[in-house]
C-alpha cells in the first residue's frame, strides 16, 4: 500500500512523463497514436497503490501511467515509445501496447472493450488454480457501449471471479460525450444490474479513489467482482491528432481547477505531511528520472530487419507459412 506522499509522487511522475511525451512527439522522436493521461493520474495512482505486486492489470491504449505505476521502469516505457529493443514490449507495441508480464501488466489494448474478456480469463485461471491474485481491468466509459462490457460483467459475476472493472469515465469517447451515446449515463447503476458491487467515485481525488479501490480489491480477492466508475477528465486532447472541436475551453478550465495533483498537494501541505518546498524537489527528482529514461531510450538499439517476422509463433518465423 502506497502512502499518500508516494501517491503524489506517482501522479507527478505520470504528469511529467506525459508532458515529456508531448514534447517528444512534437519533435517527431515518437510517432503513431499517443494518448496522454494528463488529468486522470489519480485513478491509476490510487488503484495501483492498493494492488500487490502479484496482482494483474489490463489497460487501454491510454496506458503510460498504468505501466509506470504497475512498476515498469520509465526507461522501459520510454524505449517502447521510441520503438527500441529495450522497450517493455521489445519495441513491437509502441505507446498503445505496453506489456510487462514480470510486473503483471497485460497490455495496452487498442480495441475499446477488447481487454475486458482477457481480464475475465486471467481471473478465471487464477480462480481455477486457487491463486491469490486480483486482476484490475481499466477501460474508458466508451467501452460501456461495447457488447463485450456487458458480456464480461455478466460472466465475471456469474463465475464469481477475482476481477475489478475500473471505468475511467473522462466523459468523452474520443469526441463523443457520454450523454450523446448512452441513454442512461449512471454507469455504476447499470453495472450493478449484472449482480456485482458497483460504486462511482470522484476520480480527481486520489484519497477517494484509494478508499473505494481498497474495498473493491478486497472484495474481488474474496471472489466478488466489482465495478468502480472513476469520474475524471483528460486535460489534453484525445490523441495528438485531436483539434478538440467537441468541447469548449471553459469546460477544460473548470476541470483544471480540480487538478488531482494540486488537490492532493494542497491537502498534504495543509496537514503537514508535505514540507513547504518538498513538492518542487519531488518534481525535480521526477524530471531527472525522465531525463534518464529519454537518454536510455535514445541509446537503445533498433531491432535488426532480419528479425521482422519474430514473435508471431513461439516456434519461430517459419512456423506459420
Amino acid at each position: 500500500m502506497r502512502d499518500r506522499v508516494e501517491l503524489l509522487r506517482d501522479m507527478v511522475l505520470v504528469r511529467q512523463f506525459e508532458e515529456r511525451c508531448a514534447r517528444l512527439y512534437q519533435e517527431a522522436k515518437i510517432r503513431g497514436f499517443v494518448h496522454l493521461y494528463v488529468g486522470e493520474e489519480a485513478v491509476a495512482a490510487a488503484v495501483m497503490g492498493v494492488l500487490q505486486p502479484r496482482d494483474r492489470a489490463v489497460a487501454t491504449y491510454r496506458d503510460h501511467g498504468h505501466a509506470l505505476l504497475k512498476g515498469v521502469s520509465p526507461e522501459a516505457v520510454m524505449a517502447e515509445m521510441y520503438g527500441r529493443v529495450d522497450g517493455c514490449s521489445g519495441g513491437r507495441g509502441g505507446s498503445m501496447h505496453l506489456f510487462d508480464v514480470a510486473h503483471g501488466l497485460y497490455g495496452g489494448h487498442g480495441i475499446v472493450g477488447g481487454g475486458l474478456p482477457i481480464a475475465v480469463g486471467l481471473a478465471l485461471a487464477d480462480k481455477l488454480q486457487a491463486r491469490d491474485r486480483v486482476t484490475v481491468c481499466f477501460f474508458g466509459e466508451g467501452a460501456v457501449a461495447e457488447g463485450e462490457f456487458h458480456e464480461c460483467l455478466n460472466l465475471a459475476a456469474l463465475w464469481s471471479l477475482p476481477v475489478v472493472f475500473c471505468c475511467e469515465n473522462n466523459l468523452y469517447a474520443m469526441g463523443t460525450a457520454l450523454e450523446r451515446s448512452e441513454a442512461d449515463t449512471d454507469l455504476s447503476v447499470r453495472a450493478a444490474t449484472y449482480g456485482l458491487a458497483a460504486w462511482s467515485v470522484d476520480g480527481m481525488d486520489v484519497d477517494a479513489v484509494t478508499h473505494t479501490a481498497q474495498r473493491a480489491v478486497e472484495m474481488a480477492r474474496g471472489g466478488a467482482p466489482c465495478f468502480v466508475e472513476c469520474r475524471t477528465y483528460r486535460f489534453r486532447a484525445h490523441s495528438m491528432y485531436d483539434p478538440e472541436l467537441y468541447r469548449d475551453r471553459a469546460e477544460v478550465e473548470r476541470w483544471r481547477e480540480r487538478d488531482p495533483i494540486d488537490l492532493h498537494r494542497t491537502r498534504l501541505e495543509a496537514s503537514g505531511d508535505l514540507e513547504p518546498g518538498a513538492f518542487d524537489a519531488m518534481r525535480a527528482g521526477v524530471d531527472a528520472a525522465i531525463d534518464r529514461a529519454v537518454a536510455f531510450a535514445e541509446s537503445s538499439g533498433l531491432e535488426p530487419l532480419d528479425q521482422l517476422t519474430r514473435h508471431v509463433y513461439a516456434a519461430g518465423p517459419e512456423a506459420g507459412r
Partner: protein, 326 residues
Amino acid sequence: MSRVTCRDAMGRAIRRALLEDDRVFLMGEDVGRYGGCFGVSKGLYDEFGPERIRDTPLSESAFVGAGIGAAIAGMRPIVEIMTCNFSLLALDQILNNAATLRHMSGGQIGVPLVIRMTTGGGRQLAAQHSHSLEGWYAHIPGLTVLTPATVEDFAGMLGPALADPDPVLIFEHGGLYNVDAELPDEDPAVDINKAAVRRAGQDISLLTYGGSLPKCMAAADELAASGIEAEVIDLRVLRPLDDEAIVTTVSRTHRAVVVDEGWRSGGIGAEISARIMEQAFWELDAPVARVATAEVPLPYPKHLEDAALPSVPAIVGAAKELLGRG
C-alpha cells in the same frame, strides 16, 4: 480397435486431454448439460463437473476472450464455438488478441488456446449456419488452422493442438461427424504440420481438406473407372500450408484441381493455386483448376444448396477437362 465416428473420436480426445492435464478445460455454449450442440462432449459434464466442462452464456466474444486470458495465465482451455458463422462474434478476440498478443508484447505472452468450431454446409441449415470460413482464418499470421477429415485426425489432432504454445483453430465439418471408421484404442500420432496422401495416383492431383475429402475420394473412384488415376491430397492444415506436399504431388502428376468448400474469390484455393504457380510452374501441364462453393450465401432448398457446394460430378468434370477428356 473399435468402430468410432468422427464425433466420438473428438469426444474421446477431449476426455483424454482432461484426464491427462489438470490445466485443460472445455468451455462453450451448451457443452455441458446439453452434451454439446453436436453431441461431441456428451457425458463429459457428468464425469468432470461444471468447472471443467463449463457452460457459457451466449457471449462468444467474452468466452473466447476468457479462453485467451486463461491460456495466458497458465490454463489449457478448449473453447467450442457452435458454428464458424458464430465465431464472427468473437473475431475481434481471435484476430486482435489471440493471434496478435505474442507479437505485440514482444514475445512475452503466448496464447496456448484451442478453439473448435463446426464448419461447412450440406445439411440444409441455410445462410447463417453453413459457411466455410477456415480459409479466412488461414489468412491470419499467429494462428494455426486445422481441418480434420478422417476419424483418425478427429481423434489425433487435439493432443498436438493443446501442446502448441500458440492458438490453434480446429474446423470440424458438420457433415463428417457421423462418418465412422476403425480406430485403435490408443491415440493415433498425428503430425499437424503435414498434409497426407489419401490416395496415390499419377495422372492428376486433387488437393482438398475437411468435408470435401470424401467427395474427392468418390471422384477419384469415378475417375479410376475412366482409367484416370487421381492422387488425393488431404491438406489437413491450412496454416501453415504444407508446401512440400503440394509441390511433390504436382511434380508427379503435373495437373492439379483444388477443391475447397469456401467461396472461390479470395479463398484458400486461390492461395494454393498461387503457391503452385510460384513454386512448381514448370511442372504444370495445364492451368490449376478450382472447384469451390458458388458465390452465394448458402440457400436452404436442397437442390440449390447441392448446386452451390463442390460436388463429385463437378470434381470429376474439372479433372477430366484438365486432362483434355472433358
